[in-house]
């Protein structure tokens, strides 16, 4: 792990609740990073904020990764908006 990843970027995304932030964090975490010597992403959550910490060999690598993570977060948030707390509901 001697390779240095000089470019970094942090995303902080507020959710409605700490539980939602935790769910988002757990949903994103399992997928492995394909090129670990070029990119690293760390997900963490603190109260209702999800933090995604990117570090990579170039800003291009970071941009691609951020765009992908944001796409995934969009799906997660849409899921929460539609389904959170509605497991007893009969949808119409």
């Amino acid at each position: 792990m001697a390779t240095s990843l000089p470019y970094t970027l942090n995303l902080s995304i507020p959710f409605e609740s700490a539980r939602q932030a935790e769910i988002a964090c757990k949903t994103l975490s399992p997928d492995p990073i394909l090129k670990v010597n070029e990119l690293n992403v760390k997900y963490s959550h603190d109260s209702n904020t999800l933090t995604c910490a990117f570090s990579g060999v170039s800003d291009r690598v970071i941009r691609v990764a951020v765009s992908n993570v944001i796409d995934n977060i969009k799906t997660i948030i849409e899921c929460m908006d539609e389904f959170d707390g509605k497991e007893d509901e009969l949808f119409q």
Partner: protein, 376 residues
């Protein structure tokens, strides 16, 4: 069959419900299936409560690329899940598990769907079950047709396999050595600029019905396996010679030797189908002889081709008590219900995936899956 499928039943509940999410290629499917307690049999069939599908259609001449397909799935997945719940008249609390395609398939589309599966599973506190796409096709085909222990011909856009069950595995007898049969047909459809709506293979099938003359193409069965890329290259070249845009050389005319009539694109579709399907029939028949079976089950998108079903029937009729089983496009073409069905069988034998174990994989062979729910 003596496997106890009810060890994990919820107390006081007489049935199971599973939600299935499929998105390994250009179809996004969500389905809900119901199993009643006890072994599945002709009197205790699985019930399809909903089966919703949305297909990403590209313009004529273009295939679907992973990134664009993933975007399509992300755009639609939540809406399609909701539609399936509405159609099935099902609440989240009625569900037992959420099943998703773990592979094989295209990486990006698979990943975009599993994100929704993971989120929903945590929101509603439901276990996740990862399903092998091929096993989904096989189990759904068996359930719908009632075929007990058939030789399975699995033919789709990404897979071409002849499969037989033995000792709790679906074992691959023969398969393609290069491209899948559906891929071969789809790519030829692109060469001819045939529309991808509703499906390129369907449009080729309709054109082939009007074809009369058989154009000579390579026939490439390799033992129990097939090779199809050479056939595609060959027929692509013929099509380019006949209808190509390069007008500097006058387009070649290809004439049918017997009638002297010119070869049309319909004839090419007809010839391609005849050659590819004969190859499939040959290796399927050989597999039947090997395992001493007389039942064939055709699954996968190409399985909805009626000419393939007809050719297979001609072969099977010559065998003693031969039977052919096939389903229509609702269950042949990729769908969520088959993932729900195979996933629920897994769930009923205690197989679930924890979150860390839900990473999708592009390569996931049929014979890697331990078939815990069968022991015949």
């Amino acid at each position: 069959m003596t496997v106890d499928l009810d060890q994990y039943a919820k107390p006081g509940k007489g049935y199971y419900l599973a939600l299935g999410l499929e998105g390994s290629a250009n179809k996004l499917g969500v389905g809900i299936i119901k199993h009643h307690l006890g072994q599945l049999s002709s009197t205790n069939r699985a019930e399809v409560l909903s089966n919703v599908r949305d297909t990403y259609i590209t313009p004529p001449g273009e295939g679907f690329l992973p990134r664009d397909t993933a975007r399509h799935h992300r755009n639609w997945v939540v809406r399609i899940i909701k539609k399936a719940l509405v159609e099935g008249n099902v609440r989240g609390t009625d569900l037992d598990c959420i099943c998703f395609t773990q592979g094989p398939g295209m990486g990006a589309p698979l990943q975009s769907v599993v994100i929704a599966a993971r989120t929903l599973s945590q929101l509603w506190n439901l276990p996740l079950v990862g399903v092998n796409h091929c096993i989904g096709h096989i189990e759904m085909g068996r359930e719908i047709t009632g075929a007990h222990n058939p030789v399975v011909l699995y033919v789709s856009g990404g897979n071409t396999q002849v499969i037989a069950y033995s000792d709790q595995r679906y074992r691959i007898f023969g398969e393609t050595l290069d491209i899948a049969i559906g891929n071969c047909l789809d790519r030829f459809a692109r060469t001819l600029m045939i529309p991808n709506e509703p499906a390129p293979g369907y449009n080729i099938e309709q054109m082939a019905k009007k074809g009369k003359h058989l154009v000579s193409l390579p026939y490439t069965v390799k033992g129990m396996d097939l090779s199809m890329s050479g056939i595609l290259a060959n027929i692509d070249q013929i099509a380019k010679d006949l209808f190509g845009k390069a007008k500097q050389v006058k387009n070649k005319q290809l004439i049918d030797e017997e009638t002297g009539e010119p070869i049309t694109s319909e004839d090419l579709c007809f010839s391609l189908q005849e050659v590819l399907f004969s190859m499939l029939v040959e290796i399927t028949e050989r597999a039947l002889a090997h395992v001493n079976s007389n039942q064939v089950l055709i699954v996968g998108g190409v399985g909805s081709n009626e000419r393939l079903q007809e050719m297979m029937k001609l072969m099977i009729q010559d065998r003693k008590n031969g039977q052919i089983y096939a389903t229509d496009e609702r269950f042949c073409i990729d769908n969520g219900i088959m993932i729900a069905h195979a996933g629920l069988l897994s769930y009923r034998t205690g197989q679930t995936n924890d979150l860390w174990n839900t990473v999708c994989t592009q390569r996931f062979r049929t014979d890697e899956v331990f078939i815990k729910w069968r022991d015949d």
